[in-house]
């Protein structure tokens, strides 16, 4: 049995998704970040709302910024968040 994906949500993405952190087994048919987002939207409710406008969603895999075609694999830490506003 392979390690689950660790999913993190920050700022208003966390609020809309209704969760800050969760572990999920890598879903069947999910090989990229974009496919993972499709699968999350398919769960409906808060997830669908959180990802309704993907232009304002940033993704990091293992704490590095990536694009939607980046692969996801068992054990990865995948974080979703809005454009950053620090400083």
């Amino acid at each position: 049995m392979s390690a689950p994906l660790k999913l993190l949500y920050f700022a208003w993405l966390r609020e809309k998704a209704g969760i800050g952190e969760e572990a999920v087994p890598t879903p069947d048919g999910v090989a990229t970040v974009g496919e993972l987002m499709d699968w999350l939207v398919g769960r409906g409710g808060g997830y669908a709302e959180a990802f309704s406008d993907r232009k304002v969603v940033r993704v990091a895999v293992n704490q590095e910024y990536v694009s939607l075609d980046h692969p996801v694999a068992a054990g990865d830490e995948v974080a979703f968040f809005p454009p950053v506003t620090g400083g």
Binding site: V59, Y65, P83, T85, G86
Partner: protein, 156 residues
């Protein structure tokens, strides 16, 4: 040096420590970001800064390393706070010291521009209508872009 912390920092002591004993340094440029009591047209009471522990330190370290590669610097410093902050509070300090003032200025400017669009922090402002997540600004993206970022990053 990178520090991510909830506590306030002593601006004078931090800057002093950066140049102390290094007589090759001719110039020290620093920038401090402060909490304003206005956001757009609305009065705000306070704000809460959320961040992504782990990735924050990674990104700040990467930004600092890039500055050290681009300019001949003797010392650099990035301090960023998170948690609840009141108007007038210090949020962030970036500083760069060099033999020459142009390097110090450019590196300091670069540090804050990159931090603004790369470091995973998010501001939640208290407004009369409740908590409001601050929107990212296009001008910040433009400020980062002018440093001619090596491509291949999907950050923006």
């Amino acid at each position: 040096m990178i520090k991510v912390q909830t506590e306030d920092f002593d601006l004078g002591a931090e800057l002093k420590a950066l140049t102390d004993g290094n007589h090759a340094i001719g110039g020290l440029c620093s920038f401090v970001g402060l909490v304003r009591d206005m956001a757009g047209g609305d009065k705000i009471g306070a704000m809460t800064l959320e961040h992504y522990p782990g990735m924050t330190e990674k990104e700040l370290t990467r930004i600092e390393a890039e500055a050290l590669e681009r300019w001949p610097l003797d010392a650099t410093l990035i301090i960023h706070r998170y948690g609840r902050l009141e108007p007038g509070d210090q949020i962030v300090l970036v500083a760069a010291a060099s033999a020459h003032r142009e390097a110090a200025f450019e590196a300091c400017h670069f540090l804050i521009d990159f931090l603004k669009t790369k470091a995973p922090f998010w501001k939640l402002e208290d407004t009369p209508d409740g908590g409001q997540w601050v929107d990212a600004r296009d001008t910040d993206d433009a400020a980062t872009a002018r440093w001619n970022l090596p491509s291949g990053k999907a950050a923006e």
